[in-house]
């Protein structure tokens, strides 16, 4: 399912707000923006008026015998007034921030791992999905996030939240989505070549569908290896680097990989077989095909079933 469009829904500035926090956020933003526009128009208006009213003219050159160059009352006013305004805004913002960024009681927990260049979600029930998180509607949710390599950032425009995902540390993102739908997730911390396609989706479904989803997901462990492999190819971000049609991306294409002779940067070479693919997924840095860089991370956290599914899938690509 495609994610909801960000530009076509919602208001002029924002994508659709899907929870209370987002609506409050938008209100605050619009208020300050319009306030800013008002100040801008006022200041620039006054400026333009002065520029036109007091423009130079050789005959009627306005002459101020004594120029006003100081007015303490005016100075103090335009120092104090902005101070008061920004302090009020600050307090409001701080309050919103605290309310919007703490987990509500009884939140469902998910664990998120960001790695070059995909998102993996771990569920309490023991299964995991890649690039797609499914959560029930109107339930508080809490994501416990970490990264396997560099810093990423988990960003959902529809709920106006993002948080960096830092290696060897956990960061938390708490929210609740009140509308059923599919929402776009971006990585917003620059993380390397395929940063632009490190996307995921959040599926928000009603309670019944969520139960069904969990049940099938637990069962789905039994799907045929090739199908599993194809699914993994798309969801784990393999497609970000490896094409199926011989096209060039960051990594070598998978087209007709089995039986092809591989030459490595260290000078050695071998004919690609299942064993080679298996090692390449676990320790990709050991055998780097000539002409490519050492960018692939280890996929050692995949189960054996998933690994063999991928191998079987690669075998089918002629």
């Amino acid at each position: 399912m495609d994610a909801q469009s960000l530009t076509e829904t919602g208001t002029f500035f924002f994508p659709k707000a899907v929870n209370e926090y987002a609506r409050e956020h938008d209100f605050l933003h619009y208020m300050i923006t319009w306030g800013g526009v008002f100040i801008f128009v006022a200041v620039v208006g006054v400026m333009l008026y002065f520029i036109i009213r007091y423009r130079y003219h050789p005959d009627t050159n306005p002459i101020a015998k004594k120029q006003v160059i100081h007015n303490l009352k005016l100075e103090i006013t335009w120092t104090i007034v902005p101070t008061v305004i920004v302090m009020a805004i600050f307090l409001w913002g701080a309050k919103d921030y605290l309310e919007g960024n703490v987990a509500k009681q009884g939140a469902l927990e998910y664990q998120v791992i960001g790695q070059k260049w995909s998102w993996v979600f771990f569920y309490k029930e023991g299964f995991k999905t890649a690039s797609e998180l499914t959560i029930p509607v109107s339930k508080p949710v809490r994501l416990l996030m970490t990264s396997k390599d560099v810093i990423h950032s988990f960003y959902v425009p529809n709920i106006r939240l993002k948080r960096d995902v830092v290696p060897n540390r956990y960061t938390v993102l708490s929210f609740q989505i009140d509308e059923v739908g599919t929402y776009q997730v971006f990585c917003t911390e620059y993380c390397g070549d395929e940063h632009s396609s490190m996307w995921a989706k959040i599926n928000v479904v009603d309670d019944a569908s969520y139960d069904v989803f969990v049940a099938t997901a637990v069962e789905q462990v039994n799907i045929p290896p090739v199908e599993l492999g194809e699914k993994l190819y798309r969801s784990y971000g393999c497609n970000a680097c490896h094409t199926l049609d011989g096209g060039e991306l960051v990594g070598p294409s998978w087209q007709g990989l089995l039986g092809k002779k591989r030459e490595f940067t260290d000078g050695s070479s071998l004919v690609a077989d299942e064993d080679y693919i298996y090692t390449s997924m676990l320790t990709p840095w050991n055998q780097i095909v000539s002409g490519y860089n050492n960018v692939m991370p280890s996929f050692a956290y995949l189960s054996d079933k998933e690994l063999s599914g991928l191998i079987e899938y690669i075998k089918t690509i002629k």
Binding site: L98, E99, N101, V102, A103, K104, Q105, G106, Q111, I113, F122, G126, K128, L144, T146, K148, N168, R169, Y170, V172, D275, Y278, T279, L282, T283, W285, N286, S298, A300, Y301, D304
Partner: protein
């Protein structure tokens, strides 16, 4: 320039002997007297006294009429102090969000998650982390035993895990 004051030698000698004495006190208290965390405070305090001595006598700030260097130096030390304290405040209160959460959810009986490097994720999947040391170890192992042996080992481990899993 000619007005520049020549400082009597006795000041230099006095300061030098004071510095030596303070160094001996620092070493003695730090190594042979156990004051707990006060040791650190004491050592820093003595260092501060020493620096003041060096600054005011050796560097001649005590006799300097131009206050600007002193003001600017003080400013740079204030920035320095802020830099240290705010950065340390950050790292020592990273889990503050949990504290705030517990204020917002007073009745929540959920035990706060302790964030440590072992990690909560290890409950779910043992191999979430591959710290650099582990990868280097693996690399070395491959160089030492050859890739086949290592792979075999990994496979055996996995099999062993899979055997455990159904139970």
């Amino acid at each position: 320039m000619s007005e520049h004051k020549i400082i009597p030698i006795k000041y230099y000698l006095g300061v030098f002997s004071a510095l030596v004495l303070l160094t001996i006190i620092t070493v003695y208290t730090a190594k042979f007297v156990d004051l707990g965390s006060l040791n650190f405070v004491l050592a820093m305090f003595i260092a501060l006294v020493k620096v003041t001595l060096v600054g005011s006598i050796f560097m001649g700030l005590l006799w300097e009429k131009n206050l600007f260097p002193l003001i600017f130096l003080a400013f740079s030390f204030i920035i320095f102090a802020l830099f240290v304290s705010v950065s340390v405040l950050d790292t020592s209160s990273r889990s503050s969000l949990y504290a705030i959460e517990s204020i917002y959810n007073r009745n929540d009986s959920r035990t706060p998650i302790k964030i440590d490097r072992e990690g909560l994720l290890s409950e779910n999947d043992g191999k979430i982390f591959r710290p650099r040391s582990e990868i280097i170890e693996l690399k070395e192992q491959i160089q030492r035993d050859g890739i086949e042996a290592v792979l075999k080992e990994i496979q055996e481990k996995k099999e062993a895990q899979n055997k455990e899993a159904p139970e």
